[in-house]
Subunit: 136 residues, 3 copies
């Protein structure tokens, strides 16, 4: 089992394509058949596998989330860090903190249209830590 910790600086809410970083680490291990586990050590950023060709898909996902979990919704009590605080936690719960992806032929066996994205749910800047673990 090989493990590394990656760091990503985010500049506000949005999706960040981390596919190249993950695939590079996988390829370095020389694992033909295995699994790649990706884990975000935060509760206000998450991971997703998403369509990777048309950026409007990710714009639409933002729109959807903004509608279903509005920032500053008066039903939320946990507002210490501002209107994007609690909504970020809900968005993280509705998506996922970890992904496990099949490895085949030495690479994450992503479908043609699948990309790996880190989703920053806070509106300000953060450094997000992601642990990648490779199993063969």
């Amino acid at each position: 089992m090989k493990q590394t910790q990656l760091s990503f600086k985010t500049s506000g809410r949005g999706t960040y394509n981390i596919t190249p970083d993950v695939q590079e680490f996988v390829q370095q291990q020389g694992v033909q058949i295995g699994l790649c586990h990706i884990f975000v050590q935060h509760t206000s950023a998450s991971l997703m596998l998403c369509e990777n060709a048309d950026p409007q898909v990710r714009d639409d996902l933002e729109t959807f989330m903004s509608n279903i979990v509005p920032d500053g919704d008066p039903m939320f009590l946990h507002t210490d860090e501002g209107p994007d605080d609690m909504s970020a936690h809900v968005r993280s719960i509705l998506t996922t903190s970890s992904l496990t992806i099949s490895i085949n032929n030495g690479r994450c066996a992503l479908g043609t249209w699948q990309g790996i994205y880190l989703w920053e749910h806070r509106t300000s800047n953060f450094t997000r830590k992601v642990i990648v673990t490779i199993q063969k």
Copy 2:
């Protein structure tokens, strides 16, 4: 680690019980204690563990998703492939692209009421590829 790729032909939106296919592959490996990882290589179909006794549960899940992510919602910009295109991506994100299930006694250790379902979110027919990986 043993890995196979399964293919499922879907005939429109709905849930497809893939429990027998997965359990058969697990049992062939003779693994007493382990993990079974299932990965769908698409961004408009997903996986879920769902109640397996009353089909109305899955009907109700369809109703819920149709209400919360309506096809053709005018807020969506990504509409190239029709009104079920972007809603299918959102439904996939709200559910999951991969499942990892404990193996015990040579089988996926599903609870009494748990079944493994492939959820086709597009309204037309597709062939969906699913990679199953067994670890001991």
Copy 3:
């Protein structure tokens, strides 16, 4: 691979912090680098990684879920076990039945604010079975 089954008695809808139980089992294995897989064998209770400092975060998650998936919603057909039956299935699908967490230095490598919670979605009392599997 080491595996155990834990049981948790729930007393109605709400979140139960199972971090100590999981970490104790992980530490007993003496695994420096690995993965911890947690699997709930039910379709009306789920797992989540959530902010662990302010209980209002989990109160707000309850409020959010109660709003988006109301108990007894007349759109649901599966009502055999009461108004919290189908909503519990939907809540489980929107969250997750399993978590996989990186192990580093002999412990689940949780971020500072991450806790592992069992989320009971039914309003009455249950015994929930959770399988924990450790890989090195």
